[in-house]
Subunit: 451 residues, 2 copies
């Protein structure tokens, strides 16, 4: 038997990593709850029908499909072969694969809302923290299994939701101690820009090009716009737009002039004014476009400012979440936290609190049967007082027991030998500074329970 | 577009259910940590190789396999067709499916230990709480996606581990307030019984028959043993064994007589004596067999005593976890919690604490723009004090806002109209008893933060 391996693009999370990830997710989860968002969990598998056609042609190719069971049953073989030929030509066939793995959390959420909208109290504010799977080519920072962490509210057009989601971002990154810039822009402003550049059909060309400004710079964005068929006057308008500077209020004033005769622009400006009045800590970034076509209102992006890791969150308003599942007219707005990148930022800047790693607080050494039985009784008292404690599993050399404590990062050792057993005392050793004290059993328990 | 559905055997968990499940899992997780067990998470997908052949012929059929991507690429088509024909004949072929979904948590854990044993501090005590997938025929209480919740320690033969795992069971079910009987038996005692009945080769026949005693009764067990080729004398010995009664100590004394000349039996008795001395709350149940062949020492099973739901946990000691992955000689012992059944027991007996459902504590009514802006400021103060609060998303009729609070189970409403806005006061209404008080903004905040 050869040594086993992991599938490409997947990861094991050992104890240290699980604890750090849990710290991030618990922090965010608590804030979602503070804002009245409620937890939802959907299955890892969805019907293939539910997922196909929702993520564009490229996305469809990255969906992991699950092979039906029983393909070789005599009564299925012919159907299976036919289905397989269909799949080879790029089609889907439920006779080969009925199910597929969750590709994101938004479509399963939409499916849930479509199935349950009669029973839900709208607006429905839900959060969801679960893994998703994508058959992407693995590379640094890109995995085939990764967690998404989303909060969305559906059934409300009120801007209160935008204000609250922005506040959730602010609170979360404050509690995680990550310095961030939370950017906002509005799809209607980009739509108005497209309008004054000759028509709504230019919107995608413009947003795709603008989206690259950060990476490729103004000159190349201009070249791309020309390539995409915009004329010099139009490109000049876009350049003017992209160069608007100053405070949020300055920018809004300039926009007001540019879009004075463009109703969609004015409507976007009004939304932004109203949002920024309540949450002035946002940065109005007119170059923010966000790739996804389904956004229709405010859009958000969060950047960690003191690292090169880039975007660690994003979201926005969309008009019609569940229309594709036969339930039209439910608008929504949502944000997402990039858990893996947040982890990397915190690791890089050493932002995890020290106590995130404290599992076991104290190791009782094992110096024989009677001694370890006494130790076990004390350990049970500590555990009853909610203090993680262990007895070393067997009587062994001190060295070995110290090493176990060290490798597990346990800060205290308690030594009860035959002498101590008679006097009902214990040696307590602080493994970080080596200091040792002798205590009665009662004092020992109190030392930990009163800390 | 037809209304979407869920794949057979899978479930959505809405807010109420997620909260209750989280209560169960957090309770158990905390106890694992108290005993020095550390968290591990493995990927949903494993290489098909890692899983195949580990769960018996029936198990292998229930593994969900993931279709490779790019089967139809011109350079792959021939290989794909050949692979598919292999799969139709019941073989596995990595050219069609390289990966499969996790079927349990034990094999991925073994794979992890085999890959990392040089870096691990042995004994390694790990817990793991993740979903698994099985292509079983769905039926009441049996799902295709369900959580397992396991704690195992590997690299130690010490009975301290059995004692601690039994204590984990006891503490967990005490904290969950589920009355249980925690049963123990020992594989060596069953092996000794097989020995005095004519040989080790009878062990499986005997355990399979004994395992059914609960369901089919002594007469039918006797019939089955005869069917399985045991003679009258042997069946009589087994009957005698199964009728041993009395306290744990009585039973051990009787066993001592029966197995006086059977070393494996004596060794099992010594283990049980040693374990029961530390954790006398266990019930020695000599009819307990547990189906899985890989157990070699103590075995456990937990039954909820005040319901018909049956076993809600089980486990035992095994000799060689990672041998199948090329790393022999690592013994272990572990237990498992049946999360879905624990949920059902707690639901049936109404054991979930009431506050498990409190998401939002107070809803501020929305009576217009200026009023809701003021409400938002107060809500932000409450959230900063870690109290979940909401402003209703739009100015709407009282009825609608009350109904939202009711459907979401929010216990308090705060009403700030234009009069209250001027006087900086608020009406606080307890929605459970209808009582209403008028408070200044400061008093309102204090009411919640000092509760």
């Amino acid at each position: 038997m050869t040594r086993p391996t992991l599938p490409q693009g997947t990861r094991d999370f050992g104890p240290e990593t699980v604890r750090k990830r849990k710290y991030i997710l618990d922090t965010i989860r608590r804030i979602f709850e503070l804002y009245g968002y409620q937890p939802l969990e959907t299955p890892a598998m969805e019907n293939l029908d539910t997922l196909m056609g929702k993520y564009g042609e490229e996305g469809d190719k990255l969906i992991f499909k699950i092979l039906n069971n029983g393909l070789g049953d005599p009564k299925n073989v012919d159907k299976s072969r036919k289905a397989f030929e269909n799949v080879l030509t790029g089609k889907n066939d439920p006779n080969l694969t009925e199910r597929a793995l969750r590709y994101d959390l938004t479509i399963p959420f939409a499916r849930y809302v479509a199935m349950n909208h009669n029973q839900l109290a709208l607006p429905f504010k839900r959060y969801q923290i679960q893994p998703v799977w994508r058959a992407d080519r693995p590379q640094k920072g890109r995995y085939r299994e990764f967690y998404q962490c989303d909060a969305d509210v559906v059934g409300s057009s009120s801007l209160i939701n935008e204000v609250e989601l922005a506040s959730i971002y602010q609170t979360a990154f404050q509690r995680l101690r990550i310095p961030v810039e939370i950017k906002i822009n509005h799809r209607k402003i980009l739509a108005a820009l497209a309008e004054i550049c000759g028509g709504a059909d230019k919107l995608t060309d413009i947003t795709v090009a603008i989206d690259k400004l950060d990476k490729i710079g103004m000159e190349k964005v201009r070249a791309e716009l020309i390539d995409r068929g915009l004329n010099d006057t139009q490109v000049a308008s876009i350049s003017t737009y992209l160069s608007i500077s100053g405070s949020n209020i300055d920018k809004l004033a300039t926009l007001q002039n540019i879009f004075a005769a463009t109703p969609s622009g004015l409507s976007g400006i009004r939304d932004l004014e109203s949002i920024l009045q309540q949450v002035p800590f946002l940065s109005l970034d007119l170059t923010l476009a966000r790739g996804l076509n389904y956004y229709t209102g405010a859009i958000f992006e969060v950047k960690a400012t003191e690292t090169s890791i880039g975007s660690i969150g994003g979201g926005g308003r969309y008009d019609d979440l569940t229309g594709t599942f036969g339930v039209p007219g439910i608008p929504g707005v949502g944000i997402s936290f990039g858990v893996d990148r947040i982890y990397d930022v915190m690791e890089e800047a050493r932002l995890f609190p020290e106590d995130v790693q404290t599992g076991t607080k104290v190791l009782f050494f094992n110096l024989g049967e009677a001694e370890s039985n006494a130790a076990f009784q004390l350990v049970q008292q500590l555990r009853a007082a909610d203090i993680p404690a262990e007895v070393y599993h067997e009587s062994a050399k001190f060295d070995k027991q110290f090493k176990y404590a060290e490798r597990k990062g346990i800060p205290f050792a308690v030594i009860i030998g035959s002498t101590e057993l008679t006097t009902k005392t214990a040696k307590l050793k602080d493994l970080r500074d080596g200091r040792q004290t002798e205590l009665s059993f009662e004092e020992l328990i109190l030392t930990f329970t009163h800390k």
